[in-house]
Each structure stands twice: as C-alpha cells, then as structure tokens.
Symmetry: C3
Subunit: 344 residues, 3 copies
C-alpha cells in the first residue's frame, strides 16, 4: 500500500460529503510580517493595532487575504490535487477577522457534481469554510474544479449543479463586530478618497508594477501550506519555470491597488474570479480596478464598494480586458470581483 | 591585532574544554512562519496550538529542526570555521520542546581529539548542548569535524576517540512531558497511517520535489545565525554558486517526508547522518524514507520509529543509495538516521 | 481626478509644514525574524531577551536599523516620490528602543527649502520623527532631497538652508534608560574587544561577503513599506535590474560589521551618510570600518564609539574610499558615519 496521498478522483466525491482538511495552523505576527515582505501591503487596518482600535477593533486583524490563503491552501490535497482546471469562485464571504494567536482549519462540503460528457472527468462544487479555534466560521466560499476520474468505467453520479449568486448581495455582507469608521484618520491611511468619491463605472490604474521572482512566490505558497507540486518543481516543465499559485497574483494585485484604494481597508466578499492566464517568474504584475457597485452598511461610517480587480503582466494603462473574440487578452492574469469596506 | 574572528585551529582545542557559543536567541512566531515559508512544513503538532493541546502539550512547539538549526548555527564560528570536513553526527537527542518566547544558547564540550597522520590537521569531537533560558537542555548531539592546524609544528595531543553509539537506544529516547496521542485527530494530521502500519524495511517515496533558489537557502541559513561564508559569497567559487548549508537539505527532506509520514510528528533523536554530495541552487530536491526500527514508548499512544531519510537531487523512485563501489551515488545529497514519534 | 498618489513637487513644500505620514505599523517577532533572515544580524542585545535583561533592558529591542527603515519607509510617498536625488542625512538620533508590540508612525517637518538655479527643481530639508503608540519619539533625523517642480513657472520660495551639525555631539547622544554593561557577557556576545580596545584611526576589515539576490532586497524593502517603484519594477531599466534600496546596503554592512564589532550593540546616532554608487543584484557586498571618535557615557559600563562604515562591492581589504579626484571609487557603495554603544 502506498503511504503517499494520491488525492481524490471524481468518483470519490459524494453529494453532501464533508471533508475535514489538514493541517490546522496557529498564526502570529510572523505571518503578517512575511505577508508584508512578500507583497506591498499597506492597508492601515491590518498594519497597526492603534489604527484598528480607532476603527473599533481590539487590534489589527491579519490581512483578509491571509485568511483566504490559509483556508484555501488546506483544501488543495483533498480538492485540487487531481484537478485539471480551477473553474471558479462564488459566494465568498469573510465572516470574522483573524487575529494573531488564532488557529485556523478548513472543511469543505460537496454541493454539486456533474460528470463531463467525455466520461473521463467531472466538475465538483464545494463550499469551503474556514473555522477558528472556537469553531466560528471566519470565511466561506464556493469553488468548483474539474477533476479526473480514476476509473473511466465508474458510474456517473446524479448531476447536481448548485444555484450560485452572481454576486453577494449587499444585505449578505458581514461587517465585523464593532467596526466604526467615524473617527477614521485619512492621513495615516494614506489617501483622502472616501466612499462618496468613488463612482460606479470609474476605473483606476494603480500605476505600480512588481517583477516576480521564483523565490518569492514559492515562499508565499509554502507559507499557506499549499504544496501543489507545479508551484515548486522546475522539472515539471521543459522551461524550468514553475507555475505561480493564482493566489499570489490575487494578493499582489490587491496590495498594488493600495495606490488609489488605500481606504479599501477590508475585503469582505468574493463574488467571482478567473485566473485568465498563467503567471511566471519574470512577469511584471500591474493592476487596475473598476467600481462595479456601492452600498452603505449599517456600521457607523462604513460603506461597501464592489470592485473588479484586474492584474496584468503588461501595461495596464488602457484598461483592456478581453479581445474582440470575447476572450481574455493574453496579458490579463486575473479578473476578480469582490466587495471591500471603506469610510463613508 | 586583528579584531575579526580567525576561528579555532586544531591545536586550540583541549580535551574537556567547554566552549560557550555566541549568540543567544529568543524565538517567536516569526521563526515558525519563516520555517513554514522556507520549507513545505505541515506536521500538525508544530503548526497548531489546538492540535498540540489535544496531544497533551501546552501549545505548539517550534519544529524540532528549528531547534537543531539554532543550536548548530551558534557552533559554527567556534567549531567549523576552519573545518575541512564535517565528518559525522551521533547520539543526538531532543530533550525538551522549544516554544515561542524561549531563549536558546549553545555550548560544546571537546570529547575527542586525534591528529591526522599528515600532521597538518586533526579530528575534533564535540558534544554540543542547546540550553533554554532556564538552563535546561533542549538538545544534545555529538559532531566531529576535521580542522586545520595553524602551526604544523604544534605538538599532537594525546589521541582520544570517544566511543559513540551507532544509534540512540529506544530506552534513551526522551518523550516530551505530557505527550499523549490517545485523542489524536488523524483527519487534521493529514494521513491515517499509524505506528502499526509501518513495517521495518518498508520504503516510502515521498514523491514531491522542490527546486531550490539561492535566495531561499541564504534566508534560511542566516535565520539560524550560521554565517559560514561559503553559503553567501558567490565569489568563493568560479561558477558563482554558493554551497548550500547541509541543514537546509535536512529540513527540506524532512518536510517533504510529510507525504507518507504526516504522523511522524516529532523528531526526537539523530543517530547519524552524512551529507553525501553538495547541493546547489537549481537542484530539485526529493526524498525517500526507509523504516529501520520501531519501539513503543511509555507515553500514552506514542510509538517511536527509526527512519532513514534520503534526499536526492534526481529521481528518487528507485530508492538507490550507493553504487557498486559502496560509495554514495552522485544524486544522493543526504543519508540521515533518526527517530520520530507517531501515534500507535 | 486621478486617485493615485502623484507625490509632492518642490512647490508643494512650505517651511514649517508638518506632514503626518501613512501607514502606522505594529511590529512583532516577525519583523525581527525576517531581519535576521535577510541580514547576518547577530548583535546579542537585539537577539536575546536574556542578554538584554543582563544589560538592564526589559527585553530585546528590535535591531535599531529596523526602526530606521520603518520610519524612513513611511516618508517615501510624501518626500521622495519625485526626488531626483537623495542628498544626505544628518543629526540622526535614536531616542528610545522599539520592542515587539510597539506601533510606529512617522512625521516630517520641512526645515529648509532652496530652489536650484535652473528653476526646474529644488532642495527640501525635512526633520523626520518616528513616534511610538504613546507619542514618544523613537528616532529623529534630518534628510535632504532634490525634488522636481511640477510647474517651472511656480515662484521660488525664500531660501532657508538649515544649519546642521557635522556630527551628533557626545553630549547629545541618548543612551536608553537603564542600559548597563557592567554585567556584560563577552562570550555570549561573540568577541572580547571592548571600548578600550578600539583606537581612533583604527580600521577593521570585516572580511565576510554576501552576494545579493533580487528576491532578498525586494522582501526587505517591502517589509518597511517602502514601495518606490525603482526597487521592484524590472521594466524600469533596460537591463531588467532593480535599483536596490540604499537602506538594504546599510543593514547589510552594519550586520557584516559584527565580525570585528560584535560588541557595538546599539546604533544611537547617524551623523551623515552617502550612497556612493548604486547596488544591484549579483553584487557581493563587503564592509570595513574606521574608528572616528570615542566618548564615555554616564551609563554604567557604556562607551560610545563613532564609526565610519564603508560598504563595497569589490575587495575591501585596501580600505580605499576615494580616487585621486576626490570622488568615491566605483566599488564603494556606502560611506556612513554613526555612533554605537559598546561595553567599556
């Protein structure tokens, strides 16, 4: 019997199955420091305990995408080891901040299954939850992947395609307990633009670029205990390059968006996202954003803004996204749809 | 008078001499986060405070090899600055876990001396101890190195070759106080294989590979305050490569062994080890293990397994170790013999 | 209206203006661990809580240059985004150690303005202060930069050139409260040389060299939330190299100086400094020091030593600094003048 993890194949998933993922992780200021070394992270709420207290929190939570990466990384050995493609995200909601000292684990429920017509693979939908040491959910999202079958002769399951929202409704956004932007310090946050200053349809070129090195994306991906071998093993490809974890591009783009969205302090929902093209070391990542929607919240001084965040590996000045054929342009790496909180 | 450290030469060591090494170090969650970024570290006991508590500990200790690297790194300026070769390890035992907040220092006692027949160098055996802020030993091991003489005319010391065990006896293994695997959670640990599932003689190919970058091994080596210049100064070699610290390969192999040995939660003894061939940036490191021995312990639910851990820079599928001439094959980087603890 | 930060131009500065910089940052053991991974940092006082207590402090402060980098990094978007040249430093004083848990922010006062004769740019002098969560100053220094004008037709301000000290006077040095070197442990610190062993005019070759990688300097620079794009964007230059943040060279040289100055435990004043030539990935950095002055302090067992610290990218053995034309030699990267504290 082999002792190593062969991963799950399509026929190993059953509707309603709940998978408890390994390995729980206690976070500290170390994860924050590394995140701030790996990305140009400067949102004040996740950088300063004092700033967080002025905003009604007990201390600075970790950057919201740290939570995402930790929760996501744990699912890789169970969900995407034999995946052919990462097809999409939906209904992502941050439900509670994560602070240094918290211990995070993940579990996923299979909520949809559809065998492909070729009989060789199928699509699996899972709703993944990140839980803290008290069993409280900190994040949930739906993800669907195309997975190989081990045995082509295995019978197809009943097709169940979950009905998913195109975007989290404003009423479904969960603002952290106590969050209050009425005493917000715009000087310390770095920009003066508030909720009222962003218009639906507005596009922002975030200007800065970062050229990616192999060492950096491997450090980042390992930090989240995501050990999918394509990210680490140069012998997998003839050119010796390693495929960069899509989440590395998400964090790079989000942190680059500080320049123009410095007050978009918290990410609270992930409506959808596509890794349009692969990213490799040597690529210079840039980003631009588009304001998709806005909504006030019941928290004092807090507004929610729905944004498209696009990462590119070429010049992003033209805000180009898709070609005439409707397909993503080759320089587009990421097209992400998410909600943030900012001061009104 | 030169102010820089010239290192000790063979004639500077005397039997029974105790060397207190610089520099003490207080560890935090920062060292853990970096370790998890530098290596694919996923053993649950060192990752999660909650998991550690279920196993009877007060919180997650640092990965046992962090302790080894910190203790070892401090000895470099006193023991191996003028070393020609690192000849071996023996009788290594982890005596107490290290937790964030602990301060570690090292000291070494000279336990053997033997001048080489050429009169130009000699072998020095030291027993090194790592101590925490309370003066309690956390690790001890014997190491022997070949060291140059400063003055060839210096008289040879009396030859004393210490008698060393081939392996730590099961009765000599020190299981951490309170360790209890009776409530062990195999889901969260990542694999179901327990003590009873491993057979003496069994070999496990750990499958995954990691291609090493210069930046990564330098970050790791500096983190342990090991500043031997061969690891950092590209002008030392014509090809501009830096010789990778052998401990970097040990940690890479140990963490790669998670895939097949996820429940080998703690390293508690180092019986011996050879750095068979040098490792350089660009090498893709893989690992395989062989079960050498097994022994129950008196701690509840805790078994000890003696393992050979082999790191290679080529394909490890064939479990090849030595050629017909008895020498290590050129793709073998490391051959380590150690004891781990896992649930029975 | 563009939302991204265009930076300030020469005509945007007024004498007496105080700029509160974004983004405050709470530090932890994570920043220390990263600093010790990025540089060969081994000064015992910033490495060990136990060592710091023996020296009269409550715990190990962060390395003093971490404070400098954090305070400096925050000023970049407001002071040097449109800078043509970083002209100098003066009157730098560390006023209070920074410990894990502290939150640091920066503010700068404009203390001098002088338009250049070409009318296209001018020199701005600022006195920058780093403040902790209690509003106590932890560091202050004067820096002056040459900044472009947005509008060449903008009127020149009244010329005010501040009178700056060539060096901080010994009487102006601020020794941390409680610092006491009378129980200093030279073994644990790593060297035996004390205050009395250093002579004015003495030069020390620190011997070791470190070859720099792109990933490392980018990690370091981002960690200080310094996001000046020249350090990250390879498309800025035809050769694809990134200009390395001058502070990276300062920290590399300071930590390399451990070998010969292991007891120079604290940096307490920055008298001046020049980034003589740019540093790029692939350069092997070495360092040498010259003792410029000495002064006892009123703290028990504590002496102050004024040092020149020179970083080079070639062989530093000859202590060469300037050519016959009085200009820095091409291999000189840094010429720094600073005060340190060491045991008498």
């Amino acid at each position: 019997m082999t002792k190593t993890n062969p991963g799950r194949f399509f026929e190993d998933y059953q509707l309603g199955q709940v998978i408890r993922h390994a390995v729980p992780r206690t976070v500290s200021g170390g994860e924050r420091a590394l995140y701030h070394a790996l990305y140009p992270a400067r949102h004040a709420l996740a950088s300063s305990d004092e700033f967080a207290r002025i905003c009604g929190l007990s201390a600075a939570p970790l950057d919201d995408l740290i939570t995402f990466h930790i929760v996501f990384g744990k699912t890789v050995p169970d969900i995407s080891l034999n995946a052919i493609a990462n097809l999409g995200y939906a209904e992502g909601r941050w439900l509670r901040p994560v602070w240094p000292g918290d211990t995070i684990r993940s579990e996923s429920e299979v909520i949809g299954l559809k065998q492909n017509s070729n009989g060789k693979s199928g699509v699996v939908w899972v709703r993944t939850r990140g839980l803290n040491q008290s069993g409280e959910a900190v994040l949930e999202y739906v993800r669907w992947v195309m997975v190989r079958k081990r045995d082509i002769a295995a019978p197809a399951p009943e097709t169940v395609v979950p009905k998913l929202s195109n975007a989290v409704e404003p009423a479904g956004l969960v603002v952290p307990d106590g969050l209050d932007f009425t005493r917000y310090d715009f000087d310390l946050a770095g920009e003066n633009h508030r909720y009222a200053d962003y218009e639906i349809g507005e596009k922002i070129d975030h200007v800065d670029g970062v050229t990616i090195e192999e060492a950096e994306h491997m450090l980042a991906t390992r930090l989240w205990q995501n050990t999918a071998k394509v990210h680490f093993d140069a012998t997998n490809r003839e050119d010796g390059k390693r495929l960069i974890y899509g989440g590395h591009v998400i964090s790079m783009a989000r942190t680059l968006s500080f320049n123009g969205l410095a007050n978009a302090q918290m990410v609270i929902a992930l409506n959808g996202g596509a890794h349009a093209n692969p990213c490799f070391a040597g690529d210079t990542v840039r980003a631009w954003s588009e304001v998709l929607d806005k909504s006030e919240t019941s928290a004092p001084g807090v507004g929610a803004v729905q944004l498209r965040l696009v990462a590119t590996k070429g010049d992003s000045g033209s805000f180009a996204l898709r070609g005439e054929d409707g397909k993503y342009l080759p320089e587009v790496l990421l097209d992400l749809d998410y909600w943030v909180l900012m001061p009104r």
